[in-house]
């Protein structure tokens, strides 16, 4: 949910879109319009037949207007009936106590009748460490403890005490509890950290590589993930993995370039204009990841911003590097099939709105994808593999639908 009104000289006049972004740039009246438009777009995607609609969490950020994804998930749960509600995710290390996330996720799961996908990100440096003040050296330790509390809160049958390094709770008793038992499917968004791969394997969670830079630069990360799964003796079920990709569909490639050029260039010049000084607080990148010479998404973004800024700002470079997959429905379907097979990814996370794309264009892109691309991808893996990480909602007969509201 980007803020779409930054001026063309934003990059020159402002050091960062994140953390210390100028508060004066925010117009609450405009935000009223934006929030309602973005929610309309997500609801429209559900109507079009997408398997899930997705929200996420950012703070002090001009490209992600959702400090609380759970608020968004709650309203989407009421206004949709079939699509899974994917919160990818709530930054569990940031909440005191983390029981709050167990409760809110359980609320969304109850309201939606068991349609929640629960995402547990470690959190970006900008969100977790700079905007929310969490010590980067303790972030992963806090994350692991928060996860332990949430899982216990969902599964324990009795009230219990939790005495951890960072949380001391005499009474843990999550009311409500999720419809999906023993817990909703858990997906972990990550940017290439070795520990996150290991964690997903050990916990049997879905790993989602949330890349701003498309499929060309993602090969090493996805290979690293699958190598780790092999090391842990896990199967190659493609539904263990998710991959985020920007996509723009139109009748022809020429039309698509014309239609999506401005939103893509807006995203890579303004929405992603992150000051590199916020990329790597001490302790955020673990030593294991440093040894693998892997870099976080933000570090990659920061490096590219410094070194290759001109390449990524223009549509030709954006397309060449595969940041955005663009074209006719058949061209897009071909590319996505190839990506899904090459990376062995069963969950495609699609960004069909990006940058300053307006509502009309977003809905066009969404509908084109749903009607003309999605059917070409439906049979990719489903005949061979079971998706064990998908929500299991209540039977339709047991679901309570919201009362229709008469127009006021």
């Amino acid at each position: 949910m980007p803020y779409p009104d930054f001026p063309p000289d934003f990059k020159k006049k402002h050091p960062s879109v994140w953390v210390d972004i100028d508060p004066k740039l925010f117009d609450p009246v405009r935000a009223h319009e934006l929030y309602n438009e973005y929610l309309d777009e997500l609801e429209f995607a559900a109507e079009c037949g997408f398997d899930a609609i997705c929200v996420n969490e950012h703070h002090a950020n001009g490209y992600g207007l959702m400090p609380s994804p759970n608020l968004m998930a709650a309203t989407l749960a009421r206004r949709t009936s079939d699509a899974a509600i994917c919160v990818l995710g709530s930054s569990i290390a940031l909440y005191n106590p983390p029981v709050r996330i167990a409760e809110e996720f359980a609320m969304v799961d109850c309201i939606s009748g068991g349609r929640l996908i629960a995402g547990f990100p470690v959190g970006t440096p900008m969100d977790a460490c700079y905007a929310y003040g969490t010590n980067p050296s303790m972030l992963r330790q806090r994350y692991a403890e928060a996860h332990e509390i949430i899982r216990a809160a969902w599964s324990q049958k009795e009230v219990f005490s939790f005495n951890g390094r960072f949380n001391q709770l005499r009474y843990v008793n999550a009311w409500p509890r999720p419809v999906q038992q023993p817990h909703p499917p858990v997906w972990i968004p990550g940017g290439g950290s070795v520990e996150t791969w290991q964690w997903c394997g050990v916990q049997d969670y879905v790993y989602c590589y949330v890349s701003y830079y498309g499929y060309v630069s993602a090969a090493a990360t996805m290979q690293g993930y699958w190598n780790e799964m092999q090391r842990q003796g896990k199967d190659r079920n493609p539904f263990r993995a998710g991959f985020l990709q920007f996509v723009g569909v139109a009748e022809t490639r020429e039309e698509a370039v014309k239609l999506y050029r401005e939103p893509a260039e807006y995203f890579y010049t303004r929405s992603l204009h992150v000051d590199p000084r916020f990329a790597t607080p001490p302790g955020y990148v673990t030593e294991a990841t440093q040894r693998m010479k892997m870099k976080s998404q933000v570090k990659i973004a920061a490096d590219r911003s410094q070194l290759f800024g001109s390449l990524q700002e223009e549509m030709e470079g954006i397309l060449k590097e595969g940041y955005v997959v663009i074209g006719s429905p058949d061209e897009v379907a071909d590319q996505l099939r190839r990506i899904a097979k090459e990376f062995n990814v069963g969950n495609l996370l699609l960004l069909l709105q990006f940058g300053n794309m307006d509502k009309q264009t977003t809905m066009y892109n969404t509908e084109m994808f749903a009607k003309r691309v999605m059917p070409q991808l439906a049979d990719l893996f489903e005949n061979e593999w079971e998706h064990k990480w998908w929500p299991k909602p209540l039977p339709k007969a047991e679901q309570t639908l919201p009362r229709k509201v008469a127009a006021a």
């Binding site: 303790m138 330790q141 960072f166 607080p281 030593e287």
Partner: protein
């Protein structure tokens, strides 16, 4: 420069680097992460006058254990145990720089009978919202030398991997020290020291780089104010936050001059 005595000791489960060189009065030093990386001109100049014992906090200089220490009290206890393991005794000088300065001041506050003489080089530990300084934890590798030093090349040289060392391993070594500092000081260095400084009984020398961009030089007087007449303050001209790299000889001379004055008064 000849190599100092150098050992990695186990202090209650934490591996800590101790460097020792020189003779004369004992000076125990808790350095900042950057000054725990290499033996520099500053170390050498100190060792020419004192028996210098540099005690590197867990996580600095290739040590470990920093990621098991969660509370500020446990950091202070880790430092006290490290000093004891290095042989610190009543009457020895305790010195600390930046993050090490914050911990040294706390050791002097928590064990006031043990620490009789204290030297603080641009210590962290206080924070004034009206004068926040620059964020030492939000800086790129490229911009760090000019943030921490007035002579950026001295900082860059200290941070550069020694010849023959593998760059990734050296970078891990450097990052681990910075992480330890962040673990103690995040987000801006206020360890609530202000409420404990009154307990310090040591005669205290406070040195500050006149051009410190990280913690403004005005903090020297803030520290002195909390120490209620037991502190003297000197600003080092031409020096930034890491005065030891910018003006090594001048900083050592200022320490020596303070001790000479002390002896003359005694």
């Amino acid at each position: 420069m000849s190599a100092p005595g150098n050992q990695l000791v186990d202090v209650r489960g934490n591996k800590c680097r101790i460097w020792e060189k020189g003779s004369g009065p004992a000076l125990y030093w808790l350095p900042s992460p950057a000054l725990a990386l290499k033996w520099t001109r500053f170390h050498e100049a100190l060792a020419a006058r004192y028996r210098l014992v540099a005690c590197c906090l867990p996580g600095l200089a290739g040590g470990d254990g920093h990621d098991r220490i969660d509370s500020h009290l446990d950091w202070c206890l880790a430092a006290k145990d490290l000093l004891a393991a290095a042989g610190f005794r009543k009457g020895d000088v305790l010195m600390g720089s930046s993050v090490g300065g914050a911990i040294a001041a706390d050791v002097a506050a928590l064990w006031p009978e043990l620490v009789e003489r204290l030297v603080l080089l641009a210590p962290a530990g206080l924070f004034d919202m009206a004068e926040p300084g620059r964020d030492m934890f939000a800086v790129t590798t490229k911009n760090a030398p000019a943030l921490f030093c007035e002579t950026p090349e001295a900082y860059a040289e200290t941070l550069a991997a020694p010849q023959g060392d593998e760059a990734t391993l050296w970078s891990i070594y450097v990052n681990r020290g910075n992480e330890a500092a962040a673990r103690i000081l995040w987000p801006f260095g206020d360890t609530r020291l202000a409420s404990r400084l009154w307990r310090v009984k040591a005669a205290t020398l406070i040195l500050w780089g006149q051009a410190d961009k990280v913690i403004p030089p005005s903090y020297a007087q803030k520290f002195a104010g909390h120490l209620d007449g037991r502190a003297s303050v000197k600003l080092i001209a031409g020096a930034g936050h890491l005065m030891e790299l910018d003006r090594p000889e001048e900083t050592v001379a200022a320490i020596a001059a303070a001790f000479a004055k002390e002896r003359a008064h005694a």
